[in-house]
Amino acid sequence: MTETVLEEKKVDKNWEPKIVAFLCNWCSYAGADLAGVSRIQYPPNIRIVRVPCSGRVNPYFIIKSLTDGWDGVVISGCHPGDCHYISGNLVARRRFAILKELLEFFGIEPGRVNFMWASAAEGERFAVLIRKATKIVKELGPNTKFQREWC
């Protein structure tokens, strides 16, 4: 993929990123539900995958999402201390910290993969952070780094 093609893609005003969001069942998924019940509007770019706990999210899921062409990845769990499974999010936090540093080290833009905490009462925060993540990914442009050359 040449720079010019990238540039062209960025220019496309109508381009909308597709973002996959892994939400833990007990806090973030519930927070997303609350955003719905409260009718708090946010951009329609995310596709939610429910997981029991942020601790369930294997780095494979994230890397596969990137190499499979999702423009962005969001992983959201309970705030530290709120985990329904006591410490799943703390286990996950170390894993994600390392993964995020590695991704950036290898040259993946920092905003492609976003980790966040949102509680079951934070519908508003969920929407705000999704807006922010969507904005970041949109500014980064399409995730073309992993496009197969024969595609």
Partner: protein, 1004 residues
């Protein structure tokens, strides 16, 4: 009269819900009666909870959802109690179920009615800071999620019936009066907060920026009116200086408020101050209080953290008046500091930490249920069993008997359930019905045949998402053999349709695209199970809460998103397989470790239910800590009680007592433990099986190294002093007794409050005055923590002339000896340096836990200790007597310092929790658990370290060597193990790697 295997729980706050869940899980039919329109009580209003800053909604809502759909719990909302008759074992309660004017069986909780209602009223859930509609639900996550019409406000315009596509609005729905037959009753109506009177000195109601603490709680809440931003009501600015005034309506002898201490305000205020600062760093909180009563587990640490990390300022003063500065609406406080200076200071906002009153209908309830109230109009309870009311068969829990915090409420809720067990155990399982289900259709190996049901949800989805288009699209997806759309997929008739379609199309996977699986998955799972499919052959796509409702202005994109979500669900459904929940047998026997009051109460409760119990005591005699206590502050005769307990335990044929005993080995897991005990002087060995463990190992009194203890015979411990007072008349010769509080508590070594020392000191001081009024008694303290009704005795002590002098923790009293007499030099915060001669110096030594002892047992049980070496429960708020390791429970001083009554409550609570296991012949494990592929596993042990439930251990496999092994009984299916596994040897059923792979790949 014949006993009845059903229980009524009145009040469905966190306490009532806990009682109902315990009893429902133990095989009783439970009638849960709530006066408002949803359950959850005050806890659902809270933003965060102390001392962990847990999000209240996050932790309470799963519990509420569980209560709402428990098959043994019959939940009725909007109810009134009309009449009660009968006696313990068999009561009949006449209950009026007030009409909601909306059919709760049909209402889907979508909220279209509320959004269209033209009448606005004050939103009480949000404490008047927002409005709601005459047709409404209390809060968005309410359980049951059923709207109700408030007839008081409703003008009957009929708009709601017009917009309700589900036809749930029924204006002619009548009130219903039913007679409910139960064997026991638990009263958990909670409390009502103190509301400052119209002409109060704090200007509440007059000055906009004076709010109550519960109003402030809503301001802090992320789902509250200001979306969690800390704003002041007068102009919506962030209040930089916020003053919290303590003891509003508590410790108040003026007649405006209540004389007792409300127990929880010091902590909730600290929490509110911390959270306010956390939400908005501009907020600089100041707390005005007389004493800081942080007496619970890890409370003192929280206060220290509030001061040191969040800059919360504490001022020891009681504010007498508040005036408003009209131009700025700021508030001027005038206060006197401890050293007597009068200061005027302006604040942007004032929060009144209001106390807890008995529920407004306490008198009504007492009259109907025939129980007595105490002098403060709370439920009067037994001196040693704080959940037993004055009437047999009727129990009280939570704030109805005394103001208390959430964990104590939850403990009492379980304790009340524990007492019900004793009364009704033989009727367990008599009134609950098991549903008969057809055998499961065998689907393994067959190609997926997927049916997709897409919900319009009235206009909630259909109004924004092109449902017919999504339905057409679903049909084009691989393995989808039918797709259909429904007005309401959750309605009763659609359940019939789904079953028909399963049969007609031979479906072996079912997808519903509608609302959230968090509330509706169990319903649809039940439906497909009734049609013969395994419950786990079901998937949901959330196209309402997470799609149509949040993209209302972008119908095209919302439709595209809905399609994507349906496709992802289909992709996953193609990978799903039936899951069998394994069943584990239960050994119906209990092990209780520790033979103090706590352990004996627990053992007797088990035994009274004819459960074989092994009671293991390290010492030669039963009795534990209570051996040195003669009376409680309230006058209970501890020695008599203890003697009676020991006799009962020794004579009970279901209890095997081992004294001089140590637990040598403990293996196994929930329902199936095996222990070895070495006991007796000859070190005999006993082995036995049991299903549960209760840890009641107690704690020790601190042995001071300070204040010449052990060096001067006139320096003694409070416990020794108590013995002296009760067995000797030597006190008559003493002119002056000085007591020093917080010896070995609240310091660097033991940074916690020992909770009972203040009460002990006052108890003994009063006794001194009783025996010899002329003896001078001086108590040197840091804070007097006579919480709850104990406040009465503090006041009495002051009235009797006992002298209280506060010292600062940085300048503790010093002792000097001249000749043989003692002199106590204290730097009084109020009066400067004082020197007090003392014939007797009494040290209030704290409670300490032994690291060596507890750690050894903790390792054996695979349970954690906290920094102070007390046992750490599964959840500080909602699982106070459970451990994360299932089947193991904690009670009494082993948990943290507490009073005898609290220990007894915990013992009964632990039994109740244990009975949810022991009442069953077999327990069903969670289906969605981790599974190991032993061929891949390399036994590195990472998963073992990451598991919070001790559900994984490394075992030697015949073929593969050391490999991980999942204990299905303990696994909760969180997946923390799987996320880190390098070899992909662990997968999580229901969320397998393949399923998630299928969802994230194959994108258009």
């Amino acid at each position: 009269m014949e006993k009845v295997g059903a229980v009524m729980v009145v009040g469905a706050g966190i306490g009532g819900s806990q009682s109902a869940l315990d009893l429902g899980d133990s095989g009783y039919k439970v009638y849960l009666i709530e006066s408002t329109t949803s359950i959850g009580g005050v806890m659902a209003q809270l933003d965060k909870t102390f001392p962990t800053n847990d999000c209240a909604m996050c932790i309470v809502s799963p519990k509420l959802v569980e209560t709402g759909r428990h098959q043994n719990i019959d939940l009725s909302i909007n109810c009134e109690i009309l009449n009660v008759s009968g006696e313990a074992g068999n009561f009949t309660v006449k209950v009026k179920k007030n009409s909601l004017y909306i059919n709760p069986d049909i209402c889907t909780g979508c909220g279209v009615c509320g959004r269209n209602c033209p009448v606005e009223a004050i939103d009480l859930f949000n404490e008047g800071l927002a409005r709601y509609h005459a047709t409404s639900v209390k809060y968005p996550q309410a359980v049951p999620l059923v709207y109700a019409i408030n007839k008081e406000y409703c003008i009957g315009c009929g708009v709601c019936a017009g917009v309700c596509k589900a036809k749930a609005v029924e204006y002619d729905r009548d009130d219903e009066i039913v007679d409910i037959n139960v064997g026991a009753i638990i009263l958990a109506p909670g409390f009502d907060e103190f509301v400052p009177q119209a002409a109060n000195k704090y200007g509440y109601g007059k000055f906009k920026n004076v709010v109550t603490s519960i109003e402030f709680e809503r301001i802090l809440s992320a789902s509250g009116p200001y979306a969690g931003k800390v704003l002041r009501p007068s102009d919506g600015d962030i209040p930089e200086k916020v003053a919290f005034l303590q003891c509003i309506g508590s410790r108040d002898y003026t007649g405006e408020g209540q004389p007792y201490c409300s127990s929880v305000c010091c902590m909730y205020t600290a929490k509110e101050a911390v959270i306010a600062h956390e939400h908005q760093h501009e907020v600089k909180p100041t707390i005005f209080s007389m004493d800081i009563r942080a007496y619970g587990k890890d409370f003192d640490k929280y206060i220290i953290k509030a001061q040191e990390e969040y800059g919360v300022r504490y001022i020891r003063s009681r504010i007498s008046s508040v005036t408003e500065i009209p131009e700025t609406k700021d508030l001027r406080l005038r206060y006197e500091t401890e050293d007597g200076k009068v200061i005027e200071e302006d604040f942007n906002m004032v929060v009144l930490s209001v106390g807890l009153n008995p529920p407004n209908d306490a008198k009504y309830l007492a009259e109907k249920f025939g129980i007595e109230l105490n002098e403060y109009s709370f439920a009067k309870t037994d001196i040693f069993n704080p959940v037993q009311t004055t009437k047999a068969g009727i129990f009280a829990c939570g704030a109805f008997s005394q103001p208390k915090d959430i964990p104590e409420t939850v403990t009492q809720a379980s304790a009340a359930a524990g007492c019900v067990n004793q009364l009704l155990y033989e009727k367990r399982g008599t009134l609950i019905t098991e549903k008969s289900l057809p055998p499961e259709i065998f689907v393994a190996g067959q190609p997926p045949r997927i049916g997709v049901f897409i919900c319009h949800c009235g206009i909630n989805i259909g109004g924004y998402v092109d449902v017919p288009e999504v339905t057409r699209y679903a049909k084009t997806l691989p393995n989808v053999v039918m797709s259909d759309r429904n007005l309401y997929t959750c309605s009763a008739d659609t359940q019939g349709i789904i079953k028909e379609k399963i049969e007609e199309f031979h479906l072996n996977r079912v997808i519903v695209a509608s609302c959230t699986p968090r509330t509706h998955e169990p319903l649809f799972q039940e439906t497909i199970r009734e049609a013969g499919l395994n419950r786990y052959l079901f998937q949901m796509a959330n196209i309402r809460d997470q799609c149509s409702w949040v993209h209302m202005k972008q119908p095209e994109q919302a439709t595209q998103k809905a399609k994507d979500l349906v496709r992802m669900a289909v992709n996953k459904a193609r990978q799903i397989a039936p899951i069998d929940r394994i069943k584990l047998p239960v050994t119906k026997k209990a092990l209780v470790i520790g033979g103090g009051i706590t352990g004996m109460v627990a053992a007797l409760n088990f035994a009274s239910q004819q459960i074989d119990t092994y009671l293991v005591e390290r010492e030669a005699e039963l009795g534990g800590f209570a051996k040195y206590i003669y009376h409680t502050l309230e006058g209970g005769d501890v020695q008599a009680y203890l003697k009676d307990l020991i006799n009962q335990v020794k004579s009970n044929k279901f209890i095997n007592v081992y004294t001089n005993a140590e637990l040598e080995e403990l293996n196994g897991y929930i329902g199936n433990f095996k222990s070895t005990v070495i006991y007796g002087e000859k070190n005999e060995r006993a082995e036995f099986d049991h299903g549960v463990v209760v840890v009641a190992t107690g704690a020790n009194e601190y042995k001071p190294k300070e204040y010449l203890y052990g060096q001067n015979e006139n320096v003694i411990l409070q416990s020794e002093f108590e013995e002296m007072l009760n067995t000797d008349s030597i006190i008559k010769n003493k002119k002056s007794v000085v007591m020093i509080q917080c010896v070995g508590s609240r310091n660097e070594e033991h940074p916690y409050c020992s909770k009972m020392c203040c009460a002990e000191a006052i108890k003994n001081a009063l006794l001194v005055k009783k025996i010899n009024p002329s003896t001078e008694v001086t108590i040197l303290f840091r804070d007097i923590r006579t919480y709850g009704f104990k406040e009465k005795y503090y006041r009495k002590a002051r009235e009797e002339g006992i002298i209280f002098i506060r010292y600062d923790e940085n300048s503790p009293p010093e002792i000097s000896t001249e000749n043989s007499s003692l002199n106590v030099n204290v730097n009084s915060v109020k009066a400067g340096n004082l020197s007090i001669p003392a014939d007797l110096l009494v040290l209030s030594a704290g409670i300490v836990a032994s690291h060596e002892d507890n750690e050894e047992l903790a390792k054996m049980l695979k349970v954690p200790l906290n920094d102070d070496n007390f046992y750490l429960e599964a959840h500080v708020k909602l699982r106070p007597v459970d451990f994360a390791t299932e089947g193991v429970f904690v009670a009494g001083l082993a948990h943290c310092p507490k009073t005898i009554e609290d220990s007894i409550s915990q013992a009964n609570a632990a039994v109740s929790r244990a009975c949810t296991i022991l009442s069953k012949d077999e327990i069903e494990a969670e289906g969605k658990t981790a599974v190991i592929d032993v061929a891949r596993c390399i036994g590195c042990g990472m998963c073992v370290e990451n598991c919070a439930y001790n559900a994984i251990e490394l075992i030697e496999d015949r073929r593969f060597g050391l490999v991980a092994s999942i204990n299905q009984a303990l696994c909760k299916g969180c997946g923390a193990c799987s996320g880190n596994c390098r070899c992909s040897a662990i997968d999580i059923l229901g969320f397998t790697a393949e399923q998630i792979y299928a969802m994230i790949t194959g994108r258009l």
